[in-house]
Symmetry: C2
Subunit: 404 residues, 2 copies
């Protein structure tokens, strides 16, 4: 601390739950979020689940005077839902889409259609790399079929941060990670990048108990989801890391506690997370925090690799099943073609040809063939990505174990 | 040049054209490539279009003694086809998939199924970021429907290099860019990253005229493709850039000239590109080459943005057409449902109900509905990505123009 001036940075992070036609009292809540952001001047606002571009445009107009810089990240069928508002210039933008993000046929879960991504904004005051993101949702904790996908996302995110953060002085990540603090994905992300958890590091904390961001006090949360967790769960995070000769300290962390301050409805079904960070230049570069915890990190990577392996085997099984189904449908079609040709050639004329059921069967077989082939291809891609991630993790493990 | 030792790096780059069942004399050529690589010791080998994992495994076994480090990048349905062999340790790996890569229904072009990506290897001697990659193929130069996709890829690649290269001392890129040297995509990539073209910078050159890598002398090239270019075209590149206090010089660049040295067949339908680079540490950091050429760069970005805009409008048109088709098919289905219900309810009993043609029509409508909906969703994603890229380019243009 050589008397260098301190930069105080106030960050607001919120999963807005603004799905057109589906989210309750959406317009009212987006208006409320806009009003609050205008009143309380933050430096950086990271929003997720702003699915409608109209909502973003409305916010942009409303916040133009106090947050002159903003960006909306487009991807997937619906969009990424990510946007950034900033008081300081955003110099460059990058969108990284995860390789895996659920299944297109799980319409009720919808993750695939959103093209879940990390939005990266470079720039502002000190070279600051700020990321806004959301990982694949967890729909059933006990039998979590999406765990391998979420782990691949956590891994890709960690790799992405490692590779892009060298240009920055401070990395800042805010978003809905859809993982509890002790989950393997969070440990993997934090261990492999050295990111620190603002909640754990904060000097002062104010808000829901244990920093929870999905709480029963919020009138929009699904109470049945929270039954095993009566106090709520913490899945929205602000994580940070100083890269070069800087130190970052979290002075204060706050969450909303159900209804928005002074209002009768909450901002969203998630609580907002607000952090005040102190960034200061230091004489010597901060030592690598990674080296000291190599062994623990190797354990986490091993655990994650095991889960990815489980996902890989499930995906291989799916690929095989759908491939077999496609072959069967093709055989049926060929059989039908042979029968039709036989009839045309005048064989078996003693019996009437059942045209209607024949056509129905042919169309059914064709439909199954197309569907099964599509799913076979999709799971083939899934296998490649899971396999590739496993390879990368193996390489990292070897490197970790070979370090003196 | 403060008497620091020079690192001499020999690089081999080849599009191997090793497609199972389709590429002629594949096994023989892969064997030949392996033998040559073993004889002539390069430091780094960047291969593309190694579509079969078996070919990679064979190469790996054969090259294990001289190139102990290697990686195969998995993505897409078929794979990325990219692999790296290195004499020096590969410390970290990253695969970046482009957001856009052709259309799944253009089966004859196949790009979509390959999951075209950039494979990034970090590590080796001096922190060296080496990229192996391939961009979307050009199938018709005069009416190039894939130009916007290739431009989005070139842009994403440039952004990716800008954001990941800060951790490296030298960036090295080898691959089949599927673009002629004067094309807008190459100018965009080079202008926005500051990468230098080994062919243009080489002190000594030996090989095909103008450094061409698709030449009529190669017995595997499609002669009709090369009719407008009797000398051949140059689409395979080795590009490089020194980041921090290093200088890189290209001492020598070579290409093969049809048949492999001492053999009667070529390695591939592309010529191999071999570069010898000199890397030396310098006292002061190399000045930014970007600032000096801001105006020219702004022109290139504007040109690229115009092309992306053309692609955007085409994609919007497609999205609209397929959406309309889906709505029409849905209407037809509803109409049929109404007719069927009417018949069941005993209306219009005086006429026989044409079951067969009714069923055929219903299945046809259903098929069209599914297909059109799928394509509508696909083009929606395409619109989002093209729109997002246009946004990013606009932001960069503004930043370029606002610079003093």
């Amino acid at each position: 601390m050589e008397g260098e001036p301190t930069l105080r940075l106030r960050i607001f992070d919120l999963n807005c739950w603004a799905i057109r036609y589906l989210s309750r009292r959406r317009r009212e809540r987006v208006r409320l979020i806009g009003d609050t952001l205008r009143q309380e001047l933050f430096d950086l606002v990271l929003l997720q689940e702003v699915w409608s571009e109209q909502d973003y445009s409305d916010l942009k107009v409303k916040l133009a005077s106090c947050y002159p810089f903003s960006h909306y990240f487009r991807s997937g069928v619906i969009g990424s839902g990510l946007c950034i508002f900033s008081r300081f210039p955003i110099l460059d933008m990058l969108l990284y889409q995860y390789s895996l993000n659920g299944y297109p046929y799980m319409l009720q879960h919808g993750d695939w259609f959103c093209g879940k991504s990390v939005g990266v904004g470079m720039g502002v005051t000190a070279p600051l790399l700020s990321l806004s993101l959301q990982l694949h949702a967890e729909y059933c904790r006990d039998k979590d079929a999406y765990l391998p996908h979420r782990l691949v996302q956590a891994w890709e995110l960690a790799q992405f941060i490692r590779h892009t953060s060298k240009a920055a002085d401070v990395v800042l990540l805010g978003g809905d990670l859809n993982m509890h603090p002790e989950d393997v994905g969070i440990r993997l992300l934090r261990g492999w990048t050295g990111l620190q958890d603002a909640f754990a590091e904060a000097t002062r904390f104010e808000g829901c108990k244990n920093g929870c961001t999905l709480v029963p006090d919020n009138c929009f949360t699904d109470k049945s989801e929270l039954l095993p967790f009566p106090l709520g769960i913490r899945i929205d995070y602000i994580l940070y890391k100083a890269i070069s000769s800087f130190t970052v300290k979290c002075e204060e962390l706050k969450t909303t506690t159900g209804p928005a301050p002074g209002m009768n409805i909450p901002f969203s079904d998630h609580e907002a997370v607000m952090a005040t960070l102190h960034i200061q230049r230091q004489g010597q570069p901060v030592g690598a925090t990674l080296g000291t915890a190599d062994l623990a990190l190797a354990d986490v990577v091993t655990e994650a690799r095991t889960e990815v392996g489980v996902g890989l085997r499930a995906a291989q099984q799916q690929r095989y099943s759908w491939g077999r189904m496609a072959v069967l449908a093709l055989l049926l079609l060929l059989l039908q073609a042979a029968a039709a040709l036989g009839t045309l050639a005048g064989l078996a004329t003693e019996q009437p040809f059942p045209k209607l059921s024949f056509c129905l069967l042919a169309f059914l077989a064709l439909g199954v063939l197309v569907l099964a082939t599509g799913l076979h291809l999709f799971h083939t891609m899934e296998v490649k990505i899971l396999h590739g991630t496993e390879d990368q993790m193996r390489m990292v493990l070897r490197a970790l174990q070979e370090r003196p």
